[in-house]
Symmetry: C2
């Protein structure tokens, strides 16, 4: 694996992701950063984090990518982000649920990844 370097922009992105315990869009991260960086750079950092498995990416039903550091992920099998996500339509946040994704497949299907989102109202918004 390629050697990574420590940069302030990178740390800023990480700090933002750590501060919220939710999955965040590029834009949300971008807005909350305390150093200013280029849009493209933030995208590259987020993708780098994914590759390095520091965060996982999910694509929500709005078609946008969200990035999250979450406790549920630690020590999980190869399939990334193997848990449900919940998008609250009120507070517009996406969180990782502890709930694992379970299913039974038709014969001869192989699952390599999952991207599962439940949409509704979270406990704080009702």
């Amino acid at each position: 694996m390629i050697k990574r370097r420590n940069t302030t922009t990178q740390e800023a992105v990480l700090a933002v992701l750590k501060s919220k315990r939710k999955a965040m869009s590029h834009d949300a991260v971008f807005q909350l950063m305390d150093v200013d960086a280029d849009r493209a750079t933030v995208y590259r950092i987020l993708n780098r984090f994914c590759k390095d498995e520091i965060v996982h990416k999910i694509v929500a039903d709005d078609g946008k990518q969200y990035f999250a550091i979450c406790d549920n992920c630690e020590g999980l099998p190869p399939i990334p982000a193997n848990h449900f996500h919940f998008r609250c339509t009120q507070c517009e946040t996406i969180e990782c649920l502890a709930e694992p994704i379970t299913y039974s497949l038709p014969d001869n299907y192989i699952v390599q990844q999952t991207n599962c989102i439940l949409v509704g109202v979270c406990k704080d918004c009702r």
Copy 2:
């Protein structure tokens, strides 16, 4: 509900969706239509079909919308598309699985919609 009119473009879109038994992107539908129509029109038709519950929409992990008529949907509860979808990375198709989505939620969460995709290799591609 607003009165709908029968148009050739609309029928062409429906015909395409019926011919394949898979979830199709706007673009795929657009390519396969035998009448030529405007991009925007096809988008409007697809969205209309969704509203009228003739098709259901899912957003795949590529961020794109896919539209499907499927048998699994008929007679289902209010939650639309309440089943898993499978995207095959080999043949690049998305199909509706019969498998229903099951989960248990933390207290006080309400689910209104689901968007769940399993990604891997389908039976025909291994």
